[in-house]
């Protein structure tokens, strides 16, 4: 059934309050169950054998000795995973990534897996597997991968986006061009042109909980998968396709999640755990080590880019161009395309052009990481924006305000914007006390803005009203960042009851229809929409039951503040019936009272943020301390402001780590050198200041409450804001992320400081 999703500007009583989070007690007492916390009778331990080489042909793979070890119940290789996809396409790539077939494509690529009665036996089995490799030339740097003569990572990849289609395989899997106008004309009109190249290194989402699952496949083909994931319905779709299982027979239950940030939108070990269980006829539990998480899950891209912006002396940008080269790992994807689409999305440009090159390297398959691809492009673009502003002697905030996109602007990726929030975030930055605070020696301030699309997608929600008037709210979107609290607030708002009367649960895949993965900042936008309409359906039924209880026509019943009211002079003697009273009578008025809604939520509306950052750079050590940080972002409507602020702060914190320290370091042998949190340093509390936030609420016209997603945009500006701050503090333009102490010292040395 279609519903009107337009913004209605209603007044809220419950939405927007800072209620206690429903998962809080379980999480602080240790009662919450994460991916590794499930057990089953007779469960086995699943372990993986992984490639030590960046690129090699598997010439021999002998598991016979491992299979004969006492206590080993199953050994899996690619021979146990038939190709159901004709050797091509995204699902085939996923199959190959889960288990190498004839070649290993990166250090850490799975070659075999075992299931045994305990860890010791499983480890013994891994050692007994004999693999012979013919080592092949490899490439791990994006620029080297594009150079003539580079080793070809995948001989089945031909550059997409060229006409005519190339006939020779290439590491460039896709070329994507966006823009409008004529940049040559625009640059000719410019008084000032700045052109600069930048690099960003590969980072991992760094979620604290590693990937973990418990798979159990019965002899009749029925299966259960308990797993930490951002999208259990999507995992069901992927696993059933890869293994040839009936979707209805595979029940996937999402555990509590200890962080995902895009990295838990893809399957890695889960299909193999199911395959092991199917072969062993026993439950199999797999928990990745941190080393495996770094080497064999999905970090973000490393990049190399050239940014060119021209402007008139009055501050008008006349042309902007970005050439982006994104390292995708060993499988084709669209990360550079997304960088190209987002790079100039904050600005109102007459002439712009962005070209994205998606490039294969012998590194792990890249996965989404919070507003994927946008932070890197923003680093280059926002750095050059600052440089142009400096060159023409204009305040960088004023320069951005002058060129900011607005309603009616043609976006750099094509369409024309509706109402958007970049201008208000910049005005808020301009007027924020942070911008006026004094700075000391070796300190610098930077700011930057960022853009992300936001998405909606398939969602469905159930509301079941108990006979005591309490509510079971059943959701299908994994609670990554507060779905249970936010949906409970919305449900309570619609029904007119206290928040505490609603109990939200995330259902398994056999309980609800398909829900898309919690990604693309879609959870609150789309599940919120479904919750509103499910609650309104329940209200329709509540009114019908009240009418029966009173013996009056349903048309004479209205709902407000959690009660049914009989309207009209002829019913003035009827006292209101509360939701609890109607629920208590429900067995005699037609049975259980429920509401349900399924929706494809489109129209999520784009999102903008502007950040301010103060740093102090130690010229002796090159170390950077973040002194103060402020996030200003448009939320449309903040359903639970604590969670919204938490998303803003979390994105900024991850961005600070990315900007200053985090980096995949590969040796000349193509092996990852720092696959652990001691050598890959994410920020800890002592590295971070309190991150101040300012929530703007510019309603999304396509949502009844005006909601926009907030989960991702906050990671887009930090690399650039910190880059500008460090550059201002050090007096030298930084062009390589992370801006770690050695890079800052080198930049100072190169500048003769």
């Amino acid at each position: 059934m279609d519903h009107d999703t337009s913004f209605t500007n209603q007044t809220f009583k419950t939405v927007g309050t800072r209620v206690n989070r429903p998962d809080g007690v379980d999480k602080v007492t240790g009662r919450a169950r994460y991916g590794a916390d499930a057990t089953a009778p007779g469960q086995l331990v699943g372990l993986f054998l992984r490639s030590p080489h960046a690129h090699a042909k598997i010439t021999k793979l002998d598991v016979s000795k491992a299979e004969k070890i006492k206590g080993v119940k199953a050994v899996i290789t690619s021979a146990d995973l038939p190709d159901r996809f004709g050797g091509k396409g995204g699902q085939y790539d996923t199959l190959v990534n889960c288990m190498a077939r004839d070649r290993v494509l990166y250090d850490g690529h799975a070659v075999a897996a075992v299931a045994a009665i305990d860890h010791a036996t499983a480890r013994k089995a891994l050692k007994a597997i004999k693999v012979s490799y013919e080592v092949l030339p490899h490439v791990t740097d994006v620029d080297e991968a594009m150079a003539p003569g580079a080793p070809v990572v995948n001989e089945n990849v031909f550059t997409s986006g060229m006409d005519p289609r190339p006939t020779k395989p290439s590491n460039v899997s896709r070329i994507s061009t966006f823009g409008h106008g004529d940049v040559d004309v625009g640059f000719a009109e410019a008084d000032v042109i700045i052109e600069k190249s930048f690099k960003t290194e590969q980072t991992h989402q760094g979620y604290i909980e590693p990937h973990a699952c418990l798979a159990s496949v019965g002899p009749d083909g029925s299966a259960d998968l308990w797993v930490t994931t951002q999208g259990h319905f999507t995992f069901r779709t992927m696993c059933s396709a890869l293994l040839g299982m009936d979707m209805a027979k595979l029940k996937v239950t999402s555990s509590e999640i200890g962080g995902g940030f895009g990295g838990k939108t893809h399957v890695w070990v889960e299909p193999i755990a199911l395959a092991l269980s199917r072969k062993a006829n026993r439950p199999v539990k797999v928990v990745m080590t941190r080393d495996e998480v770094f080497r064999a899950t999905g970090p973000t891209c490393s990049t190399s880019m050239d940014i060119k912006i021209g402007a008139k002396r009055d501050g008008t940008i006349t042309a902007a161009q970005s050439i982006l080269r994104y390292q995708n790992g060993a499988f084709p994807a669209t990360w550079a395309m997304m960088g190209a689409m987002t790079s100039f999305a904050c600005y109102d440009l007459k002439n712009c052009k962005s070209v994205g090159y998606d490039v294969l390297c012998n590194r792990p398959k890249v996965a989404a990481y919070r507003a994927p691809s946008a932070p890197m492009a923003a680093f280059g673009v926002e750095s050059v924006v600052d440089m142009v502003a400096a060159e023409i002697g204009m305040d960088p905030v004023e320069f951005r305000i002058k060129n900011a996109a607005k309603e009616g602007t043609r976006a750099s990726y094509g369409p024309t914007y509706g109402p958007i929030g970049i201008g208000p975030t910049l005005e808020a930055v301009k007027n924020h006390p942070h911008m006026k605070a004094p700075l000391g020696p070796n300190q610098g301030r930077g700011m930057a803005c960022g853009f992300w699309f936001n998405f909606g997608g398939q969602t469905c929600v159930d509301i079941n009203i108990g006979t005591d008037g309490t509510i079971n709210l059943t959701l299908g979107t994994v609670d990554v960042g507060g779905a249970r609290a936010s949906m409970s607030l919305i449900c309570a708002e619609e029904l007119g009851i206290p928040y505490e009367q609603v109990k939200a649960n995330v259902a398994d895949t056999s309980t609800l229809g398909h829900n898309d993965t919690t990604e693309g900042s879609r959870g609150t936008f789309s599940s919120g929409m479904a919750t509103i309409f499910a609650a309104r359906e329940a209200i329709t039924e509540l009114k019908s039951r009240a009418a029966k209880m009173w013996g009056i026509p349903v048309e004479a019943v209205e709902w407000s503040e959690g009660s049914a009211t009989a309207v009209g002079d002829e019913h003035s003697n009827l006292a209101d019936l509360s939701l609890a009273e109607i629920a208590a009578a429900s067995p005699g008025t037609g049975g259980p009272i429920a509401g349900h809604n399924e929706v494809v939520a489109d129209g999520a509306g784009v999102s903008f943020a502007s950040h301010i950052c103060d740093v102090e750079v130690d010229p002796e050590t090159g170390g950077t301390k973040v002194l103060r940080y402020t996030v200003v972002q448009d939320a449309g409507k903040a359903i639970h402001p604590d969670y919204v602020e938490g998303q803003f702060q979390g994105g900024a914190a991850q961005g600070i780590g990315w900007a200053l320290n985090e980096e995949y370091i590969y040796g000349d042998d193509g092996r990852l050198q720092n696959a652990g949190f001691l050598d890959y340093r994410i920020p800890v509390c002592s590295d971070l200041p309190f991150i101040d936030t300012e929530i703007l609420e510019i309603p999304n016209p396509n949502h009844p409450y005006g909601i926009r997603g907030v989960g991702e945009t906050s990671i887009v500006p930090p690399l650039a804001a910190i880059g500008n701050a460090v550059s201002n503090a050090a007096g030298v333009r930084m062009d390589h992320v992370p801006m770690s102490p050695p890079r800052i010292l080198k930049a100072l040395d190169d500048a003769g400081q």
């Binding site: 094509g414 699309f453 998405f455």
Partner: protein
């Protein structure tokens, strides 16, 4: 109706930036697009195509009406993290 193309979709339409197609819904548009440009099928299979109507991006609502005179862009379907 003018339909603007971006990214790799231009190559699938022989390099055209804009094409003329008559359609009243997204489903209608996609059917006619694939009829005329079979190379688009690869992009439909490889992650899909999204449609922007007057600045609003639709990924899944095939029944979405396209008003007369609307600004229509075809974009590669995107996802987030």
């Amino acid at each position: 109706m003018k339909v603007s193309l971006s990214g790799v979709l231009r190559a699938a339409a022989g390099g055209a930036e804009d094409i003329e197609i008559e359609a009243t819904t997204i489903r209608d548009l996609m059917d006619r697009l694939l009829d005329r440009y079979p190379a688009m099928q690869e992009h439909v299979a490889d992650g899909g195509i999204a449609v922007s109507i007057d600045g609003q991006i639709y990924r899944d609502t095939l029944g979405q009406p396209i008003p007369e005179g609307a600004e229509v862009f075809l974009l590669p379907r995107l996802a987030g993290g």
